[in-house]
């Protein structure tokens, strides 16, 4: 007689074992949330500590008159009223607007052009790419000094070249009508390598088959660029426009500081320079915080406009 062993009632089924090893009340979904939270925590904490809290404190400070020596006096919207009536602030905003409107498109076109050029498979292309990227890794202070010498009125290489070519030299950094253009040109020179690499990465994502098919259909380089490259670069273009806009609004302080110190006649006094000057030159921390908060608001609006115009870099089908 065969005997069948009775089932061991003390043994625990596998599913039950798994169930028991879980802490009560924490479902798989919740555990995933916890894991996600733990992964995100370092970034979130860092952002809160070094960006979020300082931003909140900065906005709070904008409602005080801060002496720079420890005294705080509540002024409500006083700093914002002062800002609205400060012609130098609005002048700096106008200069910043001009700077952004010129810098971003020029930087975009130059970087894209370079990206297309360095995508070619030619001998020594790695060296070209490195050389074009090099200005980006140099400190802006060093860049500023370098260009200050090159743009010198009397002995600068630019004016020497112009004189050699039969033209009169110009005061590049001493004329209000030229100085901002020089700052923009130098900034393009610094940043073009970085955005070139971004574009290059975007260009390399586009499958070669598309270009081959277009060639077979008789498309020339311009048609291929217009119908393949440009539409497929949309996410990259969005990133470049957004980053360049944000960098243009909030950056450039060190370059302006070294090249022109905001002059001549406030001609290169970008908003960020004016804010720095008010805070650390004049000890007007509360007023600088108000202007800084306003500038952030402008930046958020600009970013939203860029998002809206480019649909966040998404393709037409929503991908």
């Amino acid at each position: 007689m065969s005997s069948v062993a009775a089932p061991d009632r003390t043994a625990t089924p596998a599913s039950e074992s798994v169930r028991r090893s879980r802490p009560p009340g924490l479902s798989r979904k919740h555990r995933e949330w916890v894991a996600a939270g733990l992964f995100l925590a370092p970034d979130v904490i860092g952002l809160l500590l070094f960006v979020g809290i300082p931003m909140v404190l900065s906005v709070a400070m904008s409602f005080f008159q801060v002496s720079g020596f420890g005294s705080y006096e509540w002024v409500g919207l006083g700093n914002y009223e002062r800002m609205m009536n400060d012609p130098l602030f609005w002048s700096s905003m106008r200069i910043t607007g001009l700077y952004v409107v010129v810098l971003v498109p020029v930087l975009f076109c130059v970087s894209l052009g370079l990206g297309l050029l360095v995508k070619q498979k030619l001998p020594g292309m790695g060296a070209y790419r490195t050389m074009l990227f090099l200005p980006y890794v140099i400190s802006l202070v060093v860049v500023g000094l370098l260009w200050k010498f090159m743009l010198d009125d009397q002995v600068g290489v630019v004016n020497r070249a112009m004189r050699a070519a039969g033209f009169d030299g110009r005061s590049w950094l001493g004329s209000p009508s030229l100085a901002l253009g020089c700052v923009i040109a130098v900034m393009v020179w610094v940043m073009m390598g970085y955005y070139m690499i971004i574009f290059l990465a975007g260009l390399q994502e586009i499958p070669n088959e598309y270009y081959e098919a277009a060639r077979l259909d008789g498309a020339g380089p311009w048609t291929a660029f217009r119908t393949i490259t440009w539409p497929l670069l949309r996410p990259t273009s969005f990133f470049v426009v957004l980053m360049a806009t944000v960098a243009a609004i909030t950056g450039g302080l060190d370059l302006v500081f070294v090249l022109t110190n905001g002059g001549p006649a406030n001609g290169t006094a970008l908003a960020i320079f004016y804010i720095y000057q008010q805070a650390f030159g004049f000890g007007e921390y509360g007023y600088a915080a108000a202007m800084g908060s306003f500038l952030v608001l402008i930046m958020v609006i600009c970013s939203a406009v860029v998002f809206k115009l480019t649909r966040g870099g998404r393709f037409d089908d929503g991908e």
Binding site: S21, A35, L88, G263, A265
Partner: protein
Amino acid sequence: MLQHGNDAGRPAPSRRRLLTAMAGAGAAAAAPALLSGCGTAQAKGGRLQFWNFYGPQRSPDPAVNAQSAWFVDMVKQWNATHRTQIDLVYIPQPTYLNGFKLPSAFATGEGPDIFLLSPGDFLRYYNGGVLADLTPHMDKEAVADYGSALDSRRVGDKVYALPMEVEPLAMFYSVPAWEKAGLSEADIPTTWDQMLDIGDKLRSGTRAGLVFETNPGYYQNFTWYPWMWQGGGDVLDERGDVAFDSAATRQALQFWQDAVRHGIAPRTLPAAGDVISGFKAGNVAMWQQGIWQVSSFKAYAPDFPYGVFKNPLPPGGTYRTALGGWSFCANAKGRDPDAAAEFCAWALGSTKDESVDRMVEWCTVAKSDVAPRASALERGAAKGGYDSATMKAFKDDIFPGGVAEPRYPPVVYKAISDAIQGTMLAGRSVAVETERAAESIAAYTRSYKGASLI
């Protein structure tokens, strides 16, 4: 990547454990920020900190090394004879003048115990309540010995900063450029028109005839004031009322504008502002500069022939120059304000020989300056510190017509700076800019609260 279904046998974190872990991570992330916030001026035990832009440092320039050694020796002497110890903290000059280190330190209540201050910053720091009264630590004789050199560092009868030097401005000129243009000492200009004419003769495609400061800032204002004062103008009158909108102001702004408009003065500084290189390379014929350049010439171009002359005058004008110079200050909110103030007085404001000799050493050996104390100036002269033709000219001719650098607060400075920049480099109307600046200063002075602006 998140793995599913592989967690059997591993205890899942409890909520409490999760919160503990997150709190720990937060604390770890916050620690560096909190710690860095503590690492400022008053971190080290009971030792006071003296922030300055001279030393201790090592440099290929012997003059800079001598200046550093002067600071180091002074602090060493103090530390050897006093219970309260002091540490020197060197901050490079550009950072000290334009950076955020010093203002940030004061804003967070961690300002240095002793520091250097220029007249342009005096009121801001005084009104901020961080300047300790040095008077209780000084003898009346020492205060009298300083004389008018203390005027811009006083509020009422109390002294809040002790000048270590007086630095007058003058016109430096290149002898080779002068000779090349067929000019001699007899052609040294005495009027503004003559100076423009000679500058025009001296200039070339690669040489500026006459250089005025072009960068906006306190220093540019400082170099412009003498031209306004020479015509009898001022920013504020003796009662503190706004006097900026005057014929003398417009005349001085017009003078600089003409120099630039006619191409006699450049729109940017030659040699990126390096005075000695500019002269040596033949890029400059005349440059308005301060007495401190004498020691720079001595260190970097000892054989270069140059000369100095007093500011030329406008029609009917009276000779004036601006007297700059830095001071020692004690932080009233520092670790030990009393000891810091005592140190300032001991170093520069005592009647003892060592204090006077220290100033002589600074003004005639380590640097080239006029000594702010009468006794130190006399002793320095007796020791031969002003025997060279240039230093003698500064002491006997240029310095006596000097006016101390004003202590206007930032809003006043900025209004004047914008008028200078707007007229000089943007070619704007002198009358309009003068009026605009005067209105701006008047609006500020009406609501100003603090120590006297003059």
